[in-house]
Symmetry: C2
Subunit: 467 residues, 2 copies
């Protein structure tokens, strides 16, 4: 590549993909060649694989079908969803030439930037699809939970667009400490409820037991699910971890690959931050398809926080997807559904488990490496990035920035002009308290001890004859 | 235009203009045809037109030359500034097709969106140019003031890029109530000082007189200017009002016109919000060039807040540019340098005067109309826009949204398919307290009484034989 490479590559709107790529179909083919099956999602009562009928009281029917689909590699994107994508997609693929200069590296660094929409992150890609299927099913509303608020904001925008009611159960401590996200959601018409609340049985019980509780994501999930299943016209939506979410996020990777192909570039290294796994799963999808089919593919790295190291220090086991132990069981890398990262952890990516798709790929060696990074290093990388490339990264995204910078510096040492592609999932406008901690030198690292981990592992269910 | 129009039009990076358009050169030509001159900027001591020598202790020398240049219509954009523009420019020209559908209007509405950069607004266009000239002059640092923080953020990014020190005097009440903007500036390496401060003589005096003062923009300007003039290697920069700033912002209009021309569209109506005037001045520049040269041009509307109505209710007179009465005198529409809009006003655009360029064009009838809008109507329009078009507008930008919607609804009544172009100058991520007021129904309108205005007019200097 010469200096003539544009800084930003925007595809045309008519190059927005018309189908999502379902990597599970390719995984199933590869697994059958290897002579093994992938672990299905299990009903927590019967320990049998879940069916559409099991899940459709909770989730929209079409989304349940997508969740369980491991045979169709292409799943059409509905026209109305493509219309909405035109508002903010294709997202730019950016050549980080200013960062390259600052690092004085021969590496060519690219990033796919998903922060140029009001929700500020890639979450909107799945939110709009989920809202669409709810509308098509004739539902009146949706419920969800949110911690810091990225997902709640995305769902608020999506529901405003399709005229759906939305109730967001927001963990009380965030509700009180992060008022800005709440105001954005309300501006888009969502009802935002501090969790635990008196509007559900489970919330009521929690408050009765401890009126001063600051809430937890587990409780917020339980409230949102209860609210959904007790109303005929309402379903529950979730913003990461699930197969359906990785499916929708494949649009990131499909666009990235088209743009890279146009530039004549193929990444040697592909990096994504990984909390629930939806962003990395989406970015790498088409490239992973190449890998699974035996074609040349990048070296894949998942960047995760050292304070919540599900891939690097977790166990590959069946576990609940939530702390409340009401969801189905998924086989995944997990720290145990009862694991809670240190309260000092400001970097996001706090989920105890990892997307079953990513977990399986990592277990099978297709996802090459998981790397845990400490948050003070992550924020140092974020500030370095912001000062050279302009954009202030979300703390989650900055995990990928950190690994990308490290890889670029290795290229400098070895004088190799490798091509690095990473996902910049969002901007940091609503994460400034964490940047302030970093600026003021009060940020702490929070690596869990072995004892901390053992306490978490103890919450993984013991399933006789299954694990 | 058919439905085939793309939603967003991105020019290529090699279509970024290579020269700013200096509308003052065309204005001077037109004035000489009309047989009159434009009012020069006056030295406040001598009441003579200011010279480069008068101003270069305060401002960078090259910027002073731009300030006084009314002969060169094209002023080259330095290559290093174009390099930086490639990070976030060309900005998209967006066909507001979702808003059109929501309004059911035959009008075709376009907006030029300047919010897709971390500073969140068009201010960065001038900030990077001003930082460049400071660097070229061999200066070590810059000083400026900021109220809400948009300009301070933009200057922080620009100074980080060129490795310049930056001191931002931030009005104390904003410093305390809007910590997020402050953290962004610090993250980009700026020193942010609550004003009044003990670091300057003027600040020291203010604090001695009233230790509990919450500060004012006037005082912050005075501190920033003092800090600049008392250091050999430091100059002062300002983000609006000045001719040089409108010059840099012409990049908005040049890109917009190129993109509109590509689409085969010419606007019938062009709308911009107007506080200091830099955004409207920039957006309309090339179209105003057409008007001044007698070619067909749009109908130009300046949208201003009813609470700070400098064009609609102000006087066209020589006034100080600052409350502290230390700056040169400019002929402009002004409410008086002592006018302060109601504390309830949350919509931005609080400046007492208006860019001398815009003022002259309005006075001469080239800027067709100024329209004052009330803030509750502005926020209603902003929410309507956000829910259909996705993006949450900055309150300032929402003044233009309000007028654009009104014009589109008129087109619906008269069944006319007019083409409307407006400037969406920034996003509202840091203005959520104002949205909360609107959501909660506690927002008030703040139209100044005639008595309020008279009090402001009394602060306009009486200059014998000049006004």
């Amino acid at each position: 590549m010469s200096k003539q490479t544009p800084y930003k590559t925007y595809l045309e709107e008519n190059e927005i993909p018309t189908a999502y790529y379902n990597v599970r179909a390719t995984m199933a083919e590869a697994a059958s060649r290897l002579g093994h099956d992938h672990a299905p999602i299990l009903h927590p009562g019967t320990l049998q694989p879940v069916t559409v009928a099991d899940m459709e009281p909770i989730f929209c029917t079409e989304l349940v079908k997508q969740e369980l689909n491991n045979s169709d590699a292409r799943i059409d994107i509905p026209g109305k969803v493509i219309d909405f994508y035109r508002m903010y997609r294709p997202s730019p693929l950016i050549r980080a030439s200013f960062l390259e200069q600052a690092l004085d590296t021969p590496a060519r660094i690219y990033y796919k930037y998903e922060g140029n929409n009001t929700s500020g992150s890639h979450k909107l890609n799945s939110a709009i699809a989920q809202a669409y299927y709810a509308k098509e099913q004739g539902l009146g509303g949706l419920t969800t939970e949110t911690g810091a608020g990225q997902w709640g904001t995305a769902m608020s925008m999506a529901c405003a667009y399709f005229g759906l009611d939305l109730k967001v159960f927001m963990v009380k401590v965030s509700y009180e400490q992060k008022p800005y996200r709440k105001i954005v959601m309300q501006t888009y018409g969502a009802e935002v409820i501090a969790s635990p609340s008196d509007t559900t049985e489970v919330g009521h019980r929690m408050l009765a037991a401890d009126p001063t509780t600051s809430g937890s994501l587990g409780c917020a999930i339980s409230e949102a699910v209860e609210k959904a299943v007790t109303s005929e016209s309402t379903r529950y939506v979730l913003g990461s971890v699930l197969n359906q979410v990785l499916l929708h996020q494949s649009i990131i990777g499909l666009e990235a690959k088209t743009a890279m192909d146009k530039l004549g570039e193929s990444p040697d290294i592909l990096i994504g931050c990984a909390g629930g796994g939806s962003n990395l799963g989406g970015l790498m999808a088409p490239y992973m398809g190449d890998r699974l089919a035996g074609r040349p593919a990048p070296y894949f790295i998942a960047a995760e926080p050292a304070s919540c190291p599900s891939l690097t220090r977790g166990r590959f086991a069946y576990d609940f997807c939530d702390v409340g132990q009401v969801t189905p069981l998924a086989k995944m890398y997990t720290l145990g559904n009862g694991f809670i990262p240190s309260a000092n952890h400001a970097g996001g990516l706090r989920y105890h488990g990892m997307s079953p798709i990513l977990s399986q790929l990592y277990h099978d060696g297709f996802l090459d490496e998981a790397r845990a990074v400490e948050q003070s290093d992550v924020f140092e990388a974020a500030v370095r990035f912001a000062r050279s490339e302009g954009t202030l990264p979300a703390p989650e995204s900055a995990h990928a920035v950190k690994v990308a910078i490290d890889e670029a510096l290795k290229c400098k040492e070895s004088d190799e002009a490798k091509v690095i592609l990473f996902g910049l999932t969002g901007n940091g406008y609503f994460d400034l308290a964490a940047y302030q901690q970093y600026n003021e030198g009060t940020m702490r690292d929070n690596i869990p001890s072995d004892t901390d981990l053992e306490r978490g592992f103890a919450t993984i269910p013991q399933l006789e004859g299954i694990q």
